[in-house]
């Protein structure tokens, strides 16, 4: 038995054709005719193989695309990091100013950030349960 999971579709067709025209014991007299049919079919499929253009991906082109994608990801990371560090510097300067000038607001902010913890945990677990 041939492997039907073969990647070559022509080979699969050939195997199926061969199986279908395989002589039954009762039809042994027609074996020669069926063998000729199979031979003709194989010849036709081989000709088809030579006619159909085979797409072979070029390695250097694939590598170039991979490099291009890696460069794109690196650029995006640098852009995101730069944006985050800019926002972080603004937030941290504001935080330092609040600590030094209005400690009450800072304590309120800390309490709010602490209260956000259970909200996040419950929110994420609820989302996870809903997505199941």
């Amino acid at each position: 038995m041939t492997d039907r999971r073969s990647t070559d579709p022509h080979r699969e067709i050939r195997d199926i054709a061969e199986e279908e025209v395989r002589p039954e014991p009762a039809d042994a007299g027609d074996a020669a005719e069926e063998a000729e049919t199979v031979r003709l079919l194989r010849g036709a499929l081989d000709r088809l193989d030579t006619l159909a253009p085979v797409f072979e991906p070029e390695l250097h082109r694939l590598e170039a695309r991979l490099e291009e994608h890696a460069a794109f990801l690196r650029r995006r990371l640098i852009r995101d990091l730069a944006l985050f560090l800019t926002v972080a510097s603004i937030v941290l300067s504001g935080l330092a100013a609040v600590i030094l000038k209005v400690p009450a607001v800072f304590l309120l902010l800390q309490a709010a950030a602490l209260a956000a913890a259970p909200v996040f945990i419950i929110g994420f677990y609820r989302k996870k349960v809903n997505s199941r």
């Binding site: 995101d80 941290l92 030094l100 902010l109």
Partner: protein, 67 residues
């Protein structure tokens, strides 16, 4: 502003920045609200990091490994 306050602020800022950077980059890698975690990590420590480890990284130190 006293000298002690200045020391506290100067000590806290790198901790918050390191925490938020870790949260932002890791959450970005996992596509799990990087800006939310990064900004929360800027405000406070270490609660955001602990919650992140529990909720996103699913670290369960109290669970024994099978086998």
């Amino acid at each position: 502003m006293t000298r002690e306050e200045l020391y506290v602020v100067l000590a806290v800022i790198p901790v918050l920045l390191a925490q938020s950077l870790y949260l932002f980059l890791d959450a970005r890698k996992r596509e799990h609200y990087p800006w939310l975690w990064g900004l929360w990590g800027l405000i406070q420590a270490p609660v955001p990091l602990l919650v992140y480890l529990l909720v996103v990284r699913k670290v369960r130190p109290w669970r024994r490994k099978p086998g």
